[in-house]
Symmetry: C2
Subunit: 152 residues, 2 copies
């Protein structure tokens, strides 16, 4: 019998620590030096071909200006391209460059290996529990996916 409050406390305690580990692994040279938002953006655009800026912003939970900056950086690094949308000229179409794809893959692989390596210290039962917990948390935190519109 664990209350929502207890679980909340655990999340608040543990999640930032995992996050810091993921972040520092991604920013290390061996995983190609991406920030977490950059990584997530690349991964999203890889999955969702020709996304618009709004698509990315919505997925990331960021404002349009923030997302525009983020994409600027990726383009400057030659990891992404921004083209006009043929039918609606307000929009842009984002895509990964070959290099962006490669960098994403290296980063993904490196980070997964790093995490898997740490997780291999746990038992198969523990990992089963982690899988279940993540499934629950995914549904809790991804449902809504709201952009928490500014209240004005």
């Amino acid at each position: 019998m664990s209350t929502p409050e207890e679980s909340a406390r655990e999340l608040l305690d543990v999640v930032p620590v995992i996050m810091r580990d993921i972040r520092s692994e991604m920013r290390s040279r061996r995983s190609s030096d991406l920030t977490v938002p950059q990584f997530r953006t690349l991964a999203f655009v890889k999955r969702n071909k020709e996304s618009s800026l709004s698509d990315v912003a919505n997925h990331m939970g960021l404002t349009l200006p923030s997302t525009s900056r983020l994409v600027d950086g990726l383009i400057m690094h030659g990891l992404m391209t921004r083209e006009d949308h043929p039918s609606d000229r307000r929009r842009i179409r984002l895509a990964l460059t070959r290099r962006g794809l490669a960098v994403l893959d290296v980063s993904m692989q490196g980070t997964l290996e790093h995490l898997a390596n740490k997780l291999s210290a746990t038992g198969s039962n523990d990992r089963e529990v982690i899988m279940k917990a993540m499934a629950t948390l995914r549904s809790v935190f991804m449902s809504g996916s709201r952009v928490s519109r500014a209240v004005k």
Copy 2:
């Protein structure tokens, strides 16, 4: 039977999303507008009276300059104080101001309520699983707590 690789993938997928939720709640006015690193710093110094800068840096996994900046901001906002250490004059002693304590409490309460609210959509079993998963993850990611010293 879940492999370390599968669990790694789940973590990489879900953890950043939870993190973003926590961050945006903390930065909202209703939870007193702290960043996550600021929150964690205040919480650490509250727990560890008269910490030195190095103590904080070590706990946070940050370099000394980064930590110095972070603390600067908290002091400028009147949430913390920095005093000389009586016996070793290279060191500093950090402490929360009354206001820092209050802001931390409000932020903590607000964030916990926000998370608990979301988690209350889950079953008691699910939360039990989350608690277990967090316990495992805590041991995996907190052991070492290493500052990954620059290789230079």
